[in-house]
């Protein structure tokens, strides 16, 4: 396998520290891995300005590249800004299987007092209600399904 492909394979398998069912590639955070002058350079885009996991993600990718035998460097790329639109279809399936409703609709501005309609990841019902705009991490809100009564996390659209 070419070195660049091997490096991508190693880096892209790194799980997100806060949502370990998906990888940094599933989330679209890992933008590219290239070999530049013998060094594997991984370009990473943070999810939120103040995401506490950003540094942990960068360190984990660097460690994965070193474990795969590469000299590694991480570059933080701010522009274009990450959006939940970048979560891959596989990533969305994995989130759902894990019990987290993936973001729905394209990222955009929400009107005052609007609450997104979210599908229950357990039974597929649209009859759900928001319990709290914030959940276990900054990127998630808490919902409850009225059909099956299950509470669940919703990965917010941004």
């Amino acid at each position: 396998m070419v070195a660049a492909a091997r490096a991508w394979e190693a880096a892209s398998a790194v799980p997100d520290p806060e949502v370990p069912c998906v990888t940094v590639a599933d989330l679209g955070i890992l933008r590219s891995v290239e070999i530049e002058g013998g060094v594997a350079v991984a370009r990473v885009t943070p999810t939120y300005s103040g995401c506490p996991a950003t540094l942990a993600i960068e360190l984990a990718i660097e460690a994965a590249l070193r474990d795969a035998g590469f000299e590694a460097r991480i570059e933080r790329v701010l522009s274009p800004a990450w959006t939940t639109d970048w979560i891959t279809p596989e990533g969305r399936d994995k989130l759902r299987a894990y019990g987290i409703a993936p973001p729905e609709g394209p990222a955009g501005k929400a009107a005052l007092f609007s609450v997104p309609e979210v599908t229950c990841p357990r039974c597929g019902s649209r009859d759900t209600t928001r319990i709290s705009e914030f959940g276990s991490t900054a990127c998630k809100a808490q919902y409850q399904c009225r059909a099956c009564a299950e509470p669940f996390d919703y990965f917010k659209c941004l």
């Binding site: 300005s49 103040g50 995401c51 790329v77 701010l78 522009s79 929400a110 705009e133 914030f134």
Partner: protein, 242 residues
């Protein structure tokens, strides 16, 4: 150095407001707000970090984000007086947040096309975060303004107290060529505030003497104690690594 100064001003606005919001952690009126305010503080402090890092590189004197945040005194801080105002009651905090976010959202929108790639990158993230902050704070301002007699009284009191600090948002700095005009944001800001005040039943008072001076380092008495607390640990252990 005009760009260094302008980026530092923006960074200071975000750090000071982020720190103020974080003071609510553990003291909010309800659990959801106890989660919401520290999360919004994280947005602001995250933006401040990138801006300080950028300012440090522009200056080229070896100051990193921590040096800029923790080793400058009150007179060296260049933040708006609005963001350093004490939290007061929940109405004051939400109104302060609304005034700031309703300015920053269109400001970052204009900065998306900046030729400075760091500024454009920060803008891309922050524009969405500020849209959320407007929605969060705007909903509370409407709920409280259009709520009970007591909540409406307190919301109007917050408007009367903070409105004199709004004018400073539009104060022009030196021309940088890469940051948007602050004055150009005024129509969008005024439209957002008017729409929300209309729904909330609030009146903006006329202001004879706008409160300004933050950009010159002339602050109110509230900033010093805030910085003293924020900087105490770093100053007690200079150069420590964690």
């Amino acid at each position: 150095m005009a760009l260094f100064d302008a980026v530092l001003e923006l960074a200071d606005d975000h750090l000071v407001l982020g720190h103020r919001l974080s003071e609510w952690c553990g003291h909010a009126p309800m659990l959801e707000e106890d989660l919401a305010m520290p999360n919004m503080a994280l947005d602001l402090i995250g933006t401040a970090r990138t801006l300080y890092d950028h300012a440090g590189r522009l200056e080229g004197a070896g100051r990193d984000e921590d040096a800029l945040a923790y080793t400058r005194g009150e007179r060296e801080y260049r933040n708006l007086l609005l963001v350093e105002r004490p939290n007061g009651d929940f109405a004051h905090t939400m109104l302060r947040q609304l005034y700031f976010a309703a300015f920053m959202e269109p400001y970052w929108q204009a900065a998306l096309s900046s030729s400075d790639s760091v500024i454009a990158g920060v803008a891309g993230k922050a524009v969405k975060e500020m849209a959320y902050h407007i929605r969060h704070a705007g909903e509370w301002v409407i709920r409280l303004g259009d709520g009970t007699e007591e909540s409406a009284r307190r919301m109007q009191a917050a408007v009367d107290a903070l409105h004199p600090y709004a004018e400073e948002l539009f104060e022009a700095g030196a021309e940088t060529g890469v940051l948007p005009s602050r004055e150009a944001v005024r129509p969008a800001w005024e439209a957002s505030i008017a729409r929300i005040f209309d729904e909330a039943g609030l009146r903006a008072p006329s202001v004879a003497y706008p409160q300004t001076g933050g950009r010159q380092g002339l602050h109110g008495e509230a900033l010093g104690p805030m910085l003293a607390e924020m900087q105490a640990l770093h100053r007690a252990h200079p150069g420590a690594t964690w």
